[in-house]
Each structure stands twice: as structure tokens, then as C-alpha cells.
């Protein structure tokens, strides 16, 4: 068991940030996302002999994190808080205490998407999972993944491109 830890550590270092961003896009709250991802990686460590042989360990982590989020929501019987979009948009682009420097405009546009579309964007575009794995993680049909992705891309184009064009003019 001890000999497996270096592999897990390497896996953790390689994918932890993108997993966090994917879950952040899905749940919309930085602290919640970090808690969920940490819990998912802890469970991955506890089952590492199996998870390490999973065809897509990152997908396993994300699925576990999202499931943990659902369980947490059920326990608390209230919605997972989504930050005020205005606050997100007003947040300085560079660095908080954690060193994050996510583009506030992009994050705000992502958070304006419906939850399922955000999850599809997180898995398909952020983590670069294929349609089949994305469908498996979310428990939906591959065609549904494609449909959500198409709608999400259209919404992001409408939301972001005019703003970027305006920025370029100035």
C-alpha cells in the first residue's frame, strides 16, 4: 500500500487544479469546490488500487466530487450557494489569498449557464473528456451531452464575444 502513494501523489499534482476548476464551474463556489475535490481525492486515495486502474481516473474523481456535492446538498436541505454574479464580475482578475486569477468575465459567463450545461462544459472542454465519458459521469445520454454542449457554446459566444470585441475596440 505504501508503494502506491507516489503514484497517487503524482496523479494528484498533475490533475488537482483542473479538477478544481471543473468542479468550480459545476458548483459555482470556490470553497465548496475545493472541499468537494479534496474529499473526492481522499476517497480516490482510499480506493487507489482500483481507481488507478480506472479507464479515466479524473472522471472518477469528478463524479465522486459531484456526488459528494449532491449528498451535501441533501444533508443541508438547501441549495449550494452560488456567488452573486455581480460580485464575481467585480472580483479582481489577479490573485486572492489562494493565488487564483481566473478571468472574472469568463467565470461570470459560465455561471450564467444552467447547471447541467456548466457540468458538460467542465467535463468536455475543461477536462477534455470525450462525449462517452462525459455522458457516463453525468448519467445522461451521449446525444444529450452534445445538445447541452451546443447550447452552452452558443450562450458563451453570445455572452463573451461582444464583450471581447468591445475590449478590442478600446
Amino acid at each position: 500500500m505504501e508503494a502506491q502513494r507516489p503514484d497517487f501523489g503524482e496523479f494528484y499534482r498533475e490533475v488537482k487544479d483542473e479538477c478544481l476548476f471543473a468542479v468550480l464551474v459545476s458548483v459555482g463556489d470556490r470553497d465548496t469546490a475545493q472541499d468537494l475535490v479534496a474529499e473526492a481525492f481522499a476517497r480516490a486515495w482510499a480506493s487507489w488500487p482500483a481507481v488507478s486502474r480506472h479507464p479515466a481516473p479524473v472522471a472518477w474523481v469528478i463524479r465522486t466530487a459531484l456526488n459528494a456535492g449532491v449528498s451535501r446538498w441533501r444533508r443541508r436541505r438547501r441549495e449550494v450557494p452560488v456567488p452573486d454574479l455581480a460580485l464575481v464580475a467585480d472580483r479582481p482578475a489577479a490573485g486572492g489569498a489562494s493565488g487564483d486569477c481566473v478571468d472574472p468575465g469568463i467565470m461570470a459567463a459560465l455561471l450564467r449557464l444552467p447547471a447541467r450545461q456548466r457540468q458538460v462544459v467542465a467535463l468536455r472542454l475543461v477536462l477534455d473528456l470525450d462525449t462517452e465519458h462525459t455522458a457516463h459521469v453525468l448519467g445522461i445520454a451521449p446525444g444529450t451531452v452534445q445538445a447541452h454542449l451546443g447550447r452552452a457554446m452558443a450562450a458563451l459566444r453570445d455572452d463573451l464575444i461582444p464583450a471581447w470585441q468591445e475590449e478590442n475596440k478600446t
Partner: protein, 215 residues
């Protein structure tokens, strides 16, 4: 800006949010998760290649006709609610779901499943029932670790719980009507109970007989 450029911009954001939790803290939490699975006498388990695993809390519905008789005495979690070694419940589609927490009381599980119409032999001794013979029909005779997505678990008779396909399977779904004619199930364990690395719960098809499956 086209879609590819938009995707590129989105992907560039991946490195802008940093997961600050140290790996040591993750592992520490992982140890707690693992320890929680190893409740006394419990064979919570992860298998080798194909994954065997058990665990997850089970609430025994007292009114259910196929409810199990728990062998292990787990602490009550609240009034009228007891964690049991396993639970047998009939689902709306007629299939039978067995949820495992502990590999104890094989006789009780065998009795309950047989009462629900499943020809089955259950042994938690580390050995298969010597009275059972493999069911000889194509791939159905394959040795199948519990939770595997291959072999008979994905074939006629029983399947792994689809909703848990991406997490650790804890339940077995049996459709008695889909069992091949003359076939029964054998549920057995191997390895060391309580040892997460080499304990496995297995399910395979056997020839139904009074000595093995009771009928």
C-alpha cells in the same frame, strides 16, 4: 472569434485556479475514509483488478417482506433504524437488490434470497460451497468478481448496479426470471475479511441443485 478560439480561452482558465490542499492532508483524510470502511468484522473490500467492494450504510425497512435478518449487530443510528450486514429488497421491476455492508450471516442471506425465489448458495468462509458445480453454458461459467462489469454481471441474471458504475459498487441486482434454466447463483468470499487489499466478494453462476442452491 470562432468556437476553437473560445474553447482555447476556456481551457486557459484551467491553470488559473489552484488547489491548495496539500497531498498529505488528502492522504490523511483518505486514511480516515479507509478506516471508516473497516468497521469491526467488516469485510469492506477492494479487489485486485476488477474491484470487489462492499460497504455503504443500509437502512433495513422493517415492513419489507424480503427484508434481511442482520447478523452483525451494528450500532443503531437512530430510533427504529439499524445498520445491517446486508439488505435484500425487491425492486419495482421484480429484480432483487442486495446491498452489502458486512460479510456475515451467510445462512440468513441465503435463506432470505431463496425465500425471494433466487436459487442461491452463500458462503462467507473463504471457500466455495463444494456441492456447487459451475454452470456450463458459454461465458456464464466465468469466474466473476463482484462488481466486475464483465461476464455474467453484465449478462443474463444479474447486473452490477448501473448507478454506481463509476463509484465503488456496493450492491448486486439479481433478476431471478433472467437466470438461465437450471442455473443458480453462488455468492462467496475469498481473501481475508477486514483486509481491504485482498478480500473479495464473488458471484458466479452454478448448476442449481438441492445440495447447492436448495432447489
Amino acid at each position: 472569434m470562432n468556437d476553437n478560439e473560445l474553447i482555447t480561452v476556456l481551457r486557459e482558465q484551467r491553470g488559473t485556479v489552484l488547489m491548495t490542499t496539500p497531498v498529505e492532508q488528502i492522504i490523511s483524510r483518505g486514511r480516515a475514509v479507509r478506516a471508516r470502511r473497516r468497521v469491526p468484522g467488516v469485510a469492506a473490500a477492494m479487489g485486485t483488478a476488477a474491484v470487489a467492494a462492499v460497504a455503504v450504510s443500509v437502512a433495513l425497512p422493517a415492513s419489507h417482506p424480503g427484508a434481511s435478518h442482520p447478523a452483525a449487530k451494528h450500532p443503531a443510528t437512530g430510533p427504529g433504524l439499524h445498520l445491517t450486514a446486508w439488505t435484500v429488497s425487491r425492486q419495482a421491476d421484480g429484480s432483487i437488490r442486495v446491498t452489502f455492508r458486512d460479510a456475515t450471516d451467510p445462512a440468513g442471506l441465503q435463506r432470505t434470497l431463496r425465500a425471494d425465489g433466487v436459487p442461491v448458495s452463500v458462503t462467507f468462509t473463504g471457500h466455495q460451497n463444494p456441492a456447487c458445480q459451475p454452470y456450463s453454458s458459454g461465458s456464464s461459467q466465468a469466474y466473476v468478481p463482484f462488481g466486475s462489469k464483465t461476464g455474467p454481471l453484465g449478462g443474463p441474471g444479474f447486473t452490477s448496479d448501473p448507478k454506481d458504475a463509476y463509484s465503488t459498487p456496493d450492491a448486486l441486482v439479481i433478476d431471478p426470471s433472467a437466470l438461465p434454466s437450471g442455473a443458480g447463483l453462488q455468492i462467496w468470499t475469498s481473501g481475508t475479511p477486514g483486509a481491504a487489499d485482498n478480500f473479495q466478494l464473488h458471484v458466479n453462476l452454478v448448476q442449481a441443485s438441492p445440495q447447492c442452491t436448495g432447489s
